[in-house]
């Protein structure tokens, strides 16, 4: 019998539909795999009953001859940034520990409506702030991958590190991610899976714990381009509850998948040849060009001249928005409340509102979150606003214009996803700036709101996966997915992490 945990979204969906196996069998297999993988620390909470209930509903619907949804019978992992009705939602923070919403995010609801079930809430960097999944209050997530011949735990990337780890470890066929400055693509690249961040506004942000509102975008993480196309189709769509939601129909991305790139031009941005990029990454980029050329595309050089300003601008805009978005975690209405005992001795008075704010937020937020709140508060403060925030917004506009101009010469852009492969947990903690550099190739597309995807290309000399990134025009997820498919077919990426957990 097939090991159902090895199947992706499409195979599970088709198998359930065709009666090859039941949705319940799939859910049971994956629940067991999740339970067996505690060492990865990929999940903050597991919800086996949710997965089983959804599976039973699908099996019953099939038995009564109903048309099954696009994700029918597929149990997935849900990044713990999405509010899930009746299931603890923490953003991997202490300040929201124990918070159980009475509402369901639009994206998760759409997935349940499409027949998916939930294996559990996936660990992440706290409030999605991080690139290694080491800022979670609930502990680091370990990548299932290890360097050849080493037991050193490796980073699954971040912030969607629980998602990438779970999907790569085959304890979930797919997972939701969110991407603010690379948080889907970078972990996908680190773990040898696919992940797509659609055009800003494709997926509703309603019910997703906000990090940086103008950048946050949900997307799927799975082990194939087809699986991403299917799941993105189930997640996307206009939502009147999100004012920045795109009022556009959702195309049939899966149906229109094609690896035939004849007539397409693939742009290679010269500014992405950056110092500090691994040779193996540069080699894989060259290989990627050759694959896309083989698929019929023409390769053209393009220029994105403001690339080097993108990362600094991102680290102004995202913290600025975050400093405001996270103000609501104040201990007044929900989540952690730390009300210090009134002081003693002469002049002591009862503890007041300010004391409660200070104590609650000091205890509730981790260091990286505090760092970004401080940065954001600083760049928005009187006297610094124009020098930082206004300037960063100008850079953002220039970065977007760079892409517009580049897309006059090409249809899709090919670039590395990250400058390096995964690194050992704990190895980058000393210097946050080095960590931030990990997102240098991912951030420009985020600032411009463009669809961007990482697909696995190869493994490096240490046996760790490397990803390639595709960036498309606004709304052209199809072009991105098609180019991704062309790479997938030619790369023939079959490496899997060896089970050690």
């Amino acid at each position: 019998m097939t090991d159902l945990t090895q199947l992706g979204v499409k195979d599970i969906r088709d198998g359930v539909r065709d009666g090859t196996f039941t949705a319940r069998e799939v859910a049971e297999s994956l629940n067991a795999a999740v339970a067996d993988a505690a060492a990865l620390n990929a999940f903050i909470v597991t919800t086996p009953d949710h997965a089983l209930a959804a599976a039973d509903a699908v099996d019953a619907a099939r038995a009564s001859g109903e048309t099954l949804g696009a994700m029918a019978g597929v149990p997935i992992g849900m990044k713990d940034l999405f509010a899930t009705n009746g299931v603890q939602t923490t953003a991997a923070s202490h300040i929201l520990e124990g918070f159980t919403p009475r509402y369901e995010s639009t994206v998760s609801q759409k997935l349940w409506d499409a027949g998916a079930g939930m294996l559990g809430k996936l660990n992440l960097d706290q409030f999605a702030m991080g690139s290694s999944n080491e800022t979670s209050y609930f502990g680091n997530v370990a990548s299932p991958w290890r360097k050849d011949g080493s037991n050193q735990p490796m980073s699954p990337g971040g912030s969607s590190g629980g998602s990438s780890s779970a999907v790569a470890a085959r304890i979930a066929p797919a997972a939701t991610g969110t991407d603010t400055g690379g948080s889907i693509r970078q972990p996908a690249a680190f773990t040898g899976i696919c992940g797509i961040k659609p055009t800003y506004g494709r997926c509703s942000r309603w019910g997703v714990v906000a990090f940086a509102s103008s950048l946050d975008q949900a997307g799927p993480m799975a082990r194939s381009v087809e699986d991403c196309a299917i799941m993105l189709g189930a997640m996307a769509g206009f939502d009147p509850k999100d004012s920045t939601s795109l009022q556009m129909d959702v195309p049939d991305w899966e149906g229109a998948l094609s690896a035939d790139l004849r007539g397409k031009r693939v742009g290679i941005p010269r500014e992405y040849r950056m110092e500090g990029t691994d040779q193996a990454i540069l080699d894989s980029w060259e290989q990627g060009k050759a694959w896309l050329k083989d698929a019929g595309a023409e390769i053209v050089d393009v220029s994105l001249p403001h690339t080097k300003y993108a990362l600094p601008a991102y680290y102004i805009i995202a913290p600025a928005e975050a400093s405001s978005n996270l103000a609501r975690y104040d201990g007044v209405r929900y989540g952690l409340r730390d009300l210090p005992e009134p002081g003693s001795g002469a002049g002591a008075s009862g503890s007041g509102l300010q004391d409660m704010y200070a104590a609650t937020r000091a205890a509730g937020f981790g260091d990286e979150v505090k760092r970004r709140i401080l940065i954001g508060t600083y760049v928005l403060s009187a006297g610094f606003y124009d020098a930082y925030y206004t300037q960063a917004q100008k850079v953002r506009a220039l970065v977007a214009r760079d892409f517009e101009r580049a897309f006059e010469q090409c249809d899709v852009i090919l670039a590395p996803t990250t400058p390096t492969a995964s690194f050992p947990l704990g190895s980058m903690n000393a210097d946050p700036l080095t960590m931030y550099l990990n997102d240098v190739f991912a951030v420009p597309a985020s600032l411009a709101g463009l669809p961007a995807m990482s697909v696995p290309a190869t493994i490096n000399a240490d046996g760790l996966p490397l990803g390639l990134q595709l960036v498309g025009r606004p709304f052209d997820e199809q072009g991105v997915l098609n180019a991704g498919l062309a790479i997938q077919q030619r790369a023939g990426f079959a490496a899997k992490p060896e089970k050690w957990w």
Binding site: W206, V208, A210, S214, T244, S324, A327, Y357
Partner: protein, 498 residues
């Protein structure tokens, strides 16, 4: 020019006043959520997930609030900005769940406008004056803290959290408490005409931040203070009086005015420091990334314009120029929405009942509305039910009076019975004998009898003692038990006495 001056020990001071009025937009739901806005509901019963700032919640703009702000802007002849944007004003307080207020700092929806305050000699406003309005922007209200529910804790009521406010910012164009009072009253009238705010200051639907500074006449503006959340016209005026005096005292004692936020204490009529500029918040305004810029289409603006009613200034002019009312009556009748609405309904009914143009009966109706009817109502107090004072009933009384069927006194008596019982005026007039006799025959008989019985006085009158005419009128009226039409009596007496 206002001649309001404060006489200090060292000479005269002029007061400079600007007002920021917060007006709650009349709408069924909040600015960015679907929660209801009714006043006086149970605490925290009108709070959506958005208003409570639950994780992942997003604002969605309520178009009705936008429409009301635009209509208000049009009513003060203001520039309407087809492109505006929302900004976040960041600060921590327990009544502010998001940790920021969504407002419009950089690009407000309404730009420069103006408002006319009318001359009112008695109030110390010698001539009409235009007060500039800098802008109107829309923003969220905060919740309310309750400090009296628990010995050591404060409670939060979020019913008001997220309710739409218009902040209407005047230019520092006012120079006396009277002008500021007139400005608030006029603004309130306009808002109520337009229907964009109920203007209910007791319920907090309208409140003002009062900016006051003093200077030597003609010199540069002095440093101002801002007194927050003053919630009646009287308190606005008291705030200015007290604050101006306080500033003069400080300056004359050689001190300096500190730019600060102050609070008004209605109990003492004084203001006190709330926070100074040093501990003023840095609000870190920036564009709200959850909302797109607000773009107003031409169709929408046209609809807003078309939906505007006749506004106070236009109505007042029509009342004097077309209806022929006195300026005083016109001003009184147009000051409040309820007043003009009642007046116009009664005017239409009365003109119909009498069969004359409105302009021909407007003065009668105005006098009735402003003086006669309120006088009767006041006199009988609780014994009357104002609901009985229908336009139809009052029009019927006015028509009878116009036709000479009843006297002025009878009109009041009938109205009193109407108020107390709700009976039909014409039925009352018949049943209670409250009609004056215009039947020449009956009156003539009475006149003849009186002339016959008072031959001596007739002689004296005819001999030139014309003051006796009143005696004959009085005797006739007495004989007619007060019900004779005075016009008919006068005419007959003149004819017969020669």
């Amino acid at each position: 020019m206002s001649n309001y001056r404060i006489q200090g020990a060292t000479g005269e001071w002029e007061v400079v006043i600007g007002l920021e009025v917060h007006a709650q937009v009349t709408s069924n739901s909040k600015l960015f959520s679907g929660a209801a806005t009714a006043f006086g509901a149970e605490p925290n019963s009108q709070v959506s997930l958005v208003d409570a700032a639950m994780p992942g919640m997003l604002p969605v703009l309520n178009r009705e609030c936008v429409r009301q702000a635009v209509r208000t802007g049009m009513a003060i002849d203001a520039q309407i900005n087809a492109w505006s944007r929302f900004d976040r004003k960041n600060y921590f307080y327990a009544d502010l769940p998001q940790g920021y207020q969504i407002s419009q700092l950089y690009h407000p929806i309404v730009g420069e406008g103006q408002l006319l305050i009318e001359a009112d000699e008695k109030a110390g406003i010698p001539e009409d004056k235009i007060i500039g309005i800098e802008r109107i922007h829309i923003e969220q209200d905060a919740g309310k803290l309750m400090h009296d529910q628990h010995p050591t804790m404060s409670y939060v009521d979020l019913n008001r959290s997220g309710v739409a406010l218009m902040e209407i910012v005047s230019r520092p164009d006012m120079r006396s408490p009277a002008e500021a009072g007139a400005y608030v009253r006029k603004l309130r009238a306009i808002l109520r005409y337009v229907g964009s705010c109920d203007g209910n200051m007791e319920e907090g639907s309208m409140r003002a931040d009062v900016n006051v500074s003093v200077r030597r006449p003609g010199e540069e503006f002095g440093t101002r203070t801002e007194t927050k959340n003053v919630n009646s016209v009287r308190f606005v005026m008291q705030t200015i009086e007290h604050e101006a005096m306080r500033q003069v005292d400080v300056l004359e004692a050689g001190g300096k005015i500190v730019q600060e936020t102050r609070l008004f204490d209605p109990g003492t009529g004084t203001t006190r420091t709330m926070r100074s500029k040093e501990d003023a918040h840095d609000y870190r305004y920036f564009p709200d990334p959850d909302l797109l810029p607000l773009v107003l289409e031409e169709d929408f603006l046209a609809e807003c314009r078309a939906s505007l009613p006749e506004l106070p200034d236009a109505k007042r002019t029509r009342y004097t120029d077309v209806l022929g009312l006195t300026p005083y009556n016109a001003r009184e009748l147009t000051a409040e929405v309820e007043t003009f609405a009642r007046f116009e309904t009664l005017l239409a009914e009365t003109a119909k009942a009498i069969g004359k143009d409105e302009a021909k009966v407007a003065t009668q109706v105005a006098n009735w509305s402003l003086s006669v009817a309120p006088g009767v109502m006041k006199a009988i107090g609780d014994e009357g039910d104002p609901a009985n004072a229908t336009a139809a009933a009052q029009a019927s009384i006015l028509a009878m009076a116009d036709k000479g069927e009843i006297s002025g006194g009878q009109a009041k008596e009938i109205f009193e019975i109407v108020l107390k019982t709700g009976r039909e005026p014409s039925e009352i007039a018949d049943a209670e004998g409250l009609k004056q006799v215009s039947d020449t025959g009956a009156i003539e008989a009475a006149v003849d009898a009186i002339i016959a019985a008072n031959a001596d006085k007739v002689e004296q009158y005819r001999g030139g003692k014309e003051a006796l005419f009143g005696f004959f009128v009085g005797q006739t009226m007495k004989a007619m038990q007060g019900k004779a039409n005075p016009g008919v009596v006068n005419q007959l007496l003149k004819d017969k006495l020669g």
